[in-house]
Symmetry: C2
Subunit: 178 residues, 2 copies
DNA sequence: CTCCACTATTCACTGAGGGAATAGTGGACG
DNA sequence: CGTCCACTATTCCCTCAGTGAATAGTGGAG
């Protein structure tokens, strides 16, 4: 995943230790996939093994021992390269929504797929309203706004897809049962 | 992931063995996340362990031994439940695109984020054109069309987000450097 | 008769992800 | 003044996801 690159990015503003990285992650990508503490340390371990970060000393500041890590030159290059590389747009699709609808159609129950689509559409609409409302929160920073935009755009895409698919399934149903 | 449920779905139309499941998967979800053979067998192993599928006999038909699996009653119930459950819409976002832009902004190089966004937008536009063209392929079945619709909707969402984010970043840049 | 393609499965390994355990410090509160 | 809780910080363990290589049998092309 891109979690390791995000950690590199967070380290680019100066050395940090694991706990600090976890907090910085939560702050920077508040609505992203949650990152467990355990994962932070195992990911840092891999980054260290690969020479992208290195220990910048141990200290203790009114608490347990902690190890501070910093980017190596290689780490900085790697981050730079990642940031400069364009992502291949949609090489493949990965969506529970899509999988569910396709499976529902496979199991030869089109009316069931239809009712599922309708329910899912209602849930999406509700969530979209919530998000649109919360977008006008004045305490939001640039990252929050960008994330909210992203989520809204994709929920909207889901909704448009749900509508056209609903129509398509209904058509299919009519054709097979005239 | 939902791979295990998709396998259950493929088994709902009758017993199949591993290799057959892999082919059925590729046929049903042609543009979905690729599923390696190894993964099919390990997933089936877990499904068997959990009592959702069971061995329906071994045979050999002009080839090596093969084990056929079928849904158990529990497996059918589990599939049914999954199909009937509405997915929580966007509980969190998981996108390399979003992560990259946020990290680019964090590393305090707004003009860099801007040029990245512009490049990514070009790549997305090209891919969207390709997909729109291939959608009119007359050999496509309902699954293919639904998948194509889905991909197009989300590429379009990415594009709209890229545009507004590009604007936002440009604004930000102007504000900080008047 | 050998080599290749296809069917079918297993194995070994790394990474992702989550939960519980451990351990130290400081403050609240009776 | 003790103890209980919250917070900081890390480690450990376990399962699932995902990939590539290895193995093994059959049928057909040449």
């Amino acid at each position: 995943m891109s979690a390791s690159f995000v950690l590199l990015g967070l380290l680019s503003s100066g050395p940090k230790h694991g706990y600090e990285l976890k907090r910085a992650y939560d702050r920077s990508l508040p609505n992203a996939k949650p990152l467990a503490f355990g994962q932070v340390y195992s990911t840092i371990g891999r980054l260290e093994r690969d020479g992208l970060v290195e220990r910048a000393g141990q200290d203790r500041d009114g608490g347990p021992d902690r190890v501070t890590y910093e980017l190596t030159e290689l780490g900085r290059q790697t981050l730079d390269e990642w940031l400069g590389t364009v992502e291949p747009p949609a090489p493949y699709v990965s969506s529970v929504l899509l999988a569910k609808v396709v499976v529902a159609l496979l199991t030869a129950e089109p009316e069931r797929a239809g009712s599922y689509l309708a329910d899912q559409r209602a849930a999406h609409t509700t969530r979209l309203r919530e998000l649109t409302r919360s977008k006008h929160d004045p305490t939001a920073n640039i990252g929050d706004v960008i994330t909210a935009d992203f989520t809204i755009a994709h929920l909207d895409a889901d909704l448009r897809w749900l509508r056209t698919t609903l129509d398509r399934v209904a058509e299919l149903h009519q054709e097979t049962q005239p």
